[in-house]
């Protein structure tokens, strides 16, 4: 059907080589005028910069008791202070940093596990697929947060890295599933067959033939895993299983709740961290829709 739209013959004689080039420029063209992508990535970038640079402009630690207690936002303390006189703005920018960290690490680990399992299952098929599929289904059914609560509860070490590792190890299944079905359809294509016939190794075929053809799909999977990791981490932090040594947006929520910010009416304590999480994850998701529309012409608005 689409060959009709593809301008009959126009890909042929008149302009022989720039097919790939044109495709990228067309992608760019749609990217530049896709509001979802622009707004989403804009917000993500601003918050990322804030998390990276913000702490440099704060001349005290995020948990230091430096100010007057329970102050609403003011010129001096932009987001006010906690019951203990901690600077909420300082906590916020440091918290952004660790939230991004958990997202990248936790999402990244889940991504690596998920895509590896998905690729291998989809490409190898047979008994390997059966076993990996079984494993995926088992982990998929287990509710990640509940497993994490039990696992983390017994651990004494509660750093960002350990937290990310645990999150990554429990949240990969759906990515594995999605990648598997994609790889499955790609693995039967001619050029993959050709590569296989010419005796290339599985790993090589996956990285050179299959993965590049679903790169956009992989990017989008990573974004979803990133968002999931951030939300799970926030949940763990809120229950009190977060990093004991640092500060994160989830911990801020936990502290504000534990010290009854709610009933003291200290809205400036619990609104910013939640808004921060929502903004990061939400704009990631919206960015993702934008990407989807760009890579998947069917969804483009006409």
């Amino acid at each position: 059907m689409s060959n009709v739209a593809g301008a009959p013959g126009s890909d042929g004689t008149t302009e022989p080589q720039p097919a790939v080039e044109r495709r990228t420029s067309e992608t760019l063209h749609f990217a530049k005028r896709n509001p979802k992508l622009l707004i989403g990535s804009g917000i993500v970038l601003i918050l990322l910069l804030l998390g990276l640079i913000g702490p440099l402009f704060v001349d005290h630690g995020p948990n230091v008791y430096i100010g007057p207690q329970s102050q609403p936002p003011s010129a001096e303390y932009w987001l006010g202070t906690t019951t203990f006189g901690q600077d909420i703005w300082a906590q916020f920018v440091y918290g952004l940093r660790s939230t991004f960290m958990v997202g990248f690490l936790g999402g990244g680990i889940a991504f690596v596990i998920g895509t590896a399992i998905g690729f291998i299952a989809g490409y190898k098929g047979g008994i390997v697929d059966e076993i990996l599929n079984m494993l995926t289904n088992v982990v998929l059914v287990l509710p990640a947060l509940v497993v994490l609560i039990v696992a983390v509860a017994y651990l004494d070490i509660k750093g960002v890295f350990v937290q990310s590792l645990f999150i990554g190890m429990t949240s990969w299944p759906w990515a594995a599933r999605a990648v598997r079905s994609q790889a499955l359809s790609l693995a039967t294509r001619d050029y993959v067959d050709l590569a296989r016939l010419s005796g290339r190794r599985t790993g090589k075929i996956i990285t050179t033939e299959i993965a590049p053809n679903m790169s956009s799909y992989l990017v989008m999977s990573f974004i979803l895993l990133f968002g999931g990791a951030v939300l799970i981490a926030a949940g763990l932090d809120f229950i009190g299983l977060g990093p004991t040594d640092g500060v994160s947006l989830g911990l801020m929520l936990q502290n504000s709740f534990t010290w009854s910010a709610l009933h003291l009416g200290m809205w400036w304590w619990f609104i910013p961290p939640g808004a921060g999480i929502t903004a990061i994850v939400g704009s990631m998701y919206i960015l993702n829709v934008g990407l989807d529309e760009i890579f998947n012409p069917k969804l483009r608005e006409l």
């Binding site: 739209a5 301008a7 009959p8 013959g9 126009s10």
Partner: protein, 317 residues
């Protein structure tokens, strides 16, 4: 005269500009005529088929008129077109295998479609069963889901469903491409039978398979780069083509009667011109072995003998 298409222009809107998929198409279709519509992929034949029933959102009607049974067909107006769809103009699509709602029993889906088009299903039930039997299907298929049917069975169900209201014009868009040879043959035979019995008045059969066209069609129209190259009775097109493009197309066939596929048609040197900025003059001139200076003027489609039309300066006027 069932169908009269005059100077039809339909463009595709793309980022890089309009693609002139149909750029001045003229032809007529007589009552009871089965016309094969052939050409390389991208010549506009599928676009023509679609234009006659429903423009998709990127297609734009630029110029030209269509007349069906003396009535003007407003193809640019989606809403007004609805009156013609199914009742007067019907379609067997390229994707007939997946044209049925997978989660509805076939009979129920047909009933719902009929109701939505203002036909009481009970009025046509008998006819529906009779026609299913005619194409070799047990009326029990109506109680099945599409997934329970083979490809050929689905194809026939779609054919019966599409023609149930006795349309004046049936467009079959590559309707048999996905079938194996023997199923193809029986579907094609059923189509001819449907015409003979008057279930459809006339038919346009879009295909890239000229030998299949020859088996069933009364006339063949060959398109090239968004325009009509030649239209003539099927035997004339096969045995005595006049347009150099048709000659090459026929010459590329191994022998009449054998099936062929697109790969063979690529035996013609060169590729069709891009339709984003179509060349002036005759569009075939770059590939034409006998092109000369006059070909920089667009050749008109003229009737070189009764019922035989060609658009080439070299055919005896």
């Amino acid at each position: 005269m069932t169908l009269r298409v005059k100077d039809l222009k339909v463009y595709y809107q793309t980022l890089r500009g309009d693609v002139h998929a149909l750029d001045g198409v003229d032809f007529e279709l007589a009552d009871g005529e089965i016309m094969g519509l052939a050409g390389e992929s991208g010549c506009g034949k599928s676009t023509l088929g679609k234009s006659l029933i429903r423009l998709d959102s990127r297609m734009r009607h630029v110029d030209g008129t269509i007349e069906l049974d003396g009535e003007d067909v407003p193809i640019a107006k989606d809403r007004e077109m609805n009156r013609f769809r199914y009742h007067e103009i019907s379609l067997i699509p390229q994707y007939a295998m997946s044209a049925l709602n997978p989660t509805r029993k076939i009979g129920r889906m047909i009933n719902e479609l009929l109701q939505s088009r203002g036909v009481r299903p009970s009025e046509v039930t008998e006819e529906l069963n009779r026609r299913l039997e005619l194409v070799g299907l047990d009326p029990d298929v109506l109680k099945r889901f599409p997934i329970e049917l083979s490809g050929g069975m689905k194809q026939r169900v779609v054919m019966v469903m599409a023609t149930l209201l006795n349309p004046s014009l049936l467009i079959a868009d590559e309707a048999t491409s996905a079938l194996d040879v023997s199923t193809q043959r029986s579907v094609v035979e059923s189509m001819v039978e449907f015409r003979d019995r008057g279930y459809v008045k006339s038919m346009i059969f879009v295909t890239h398979d000229i030998s299949l066209v020859y088996q069933m069609a009364d006339t063949v129209m060959v398109m090239y780069a968004g325009r009509v190259a030649e239209k003539a009775p099927a035997s004339t097109i096969i045995n005595d083509p006049q347009h150099p493009y048709t000659k090459m197309l026929i010459g590329a066939l191994p022998e009449v009667g054998a099936t062929t596929d697109e790969a063979r048609l690529e035996g013609i040197p060169g590729t069709p011109p891009g339709l984003l900025h179509p060349p002036t003059g005759c569009r075939f001139k770059a590939r034409c072995p006998i092109a000369s200076e006059e070909c920089s003027e667009t050749p008109p489609l003229v009737e070189i003998e009764p019922g035989h039309w060609a658009a080439c300066w070299k055919t005896g006027r």
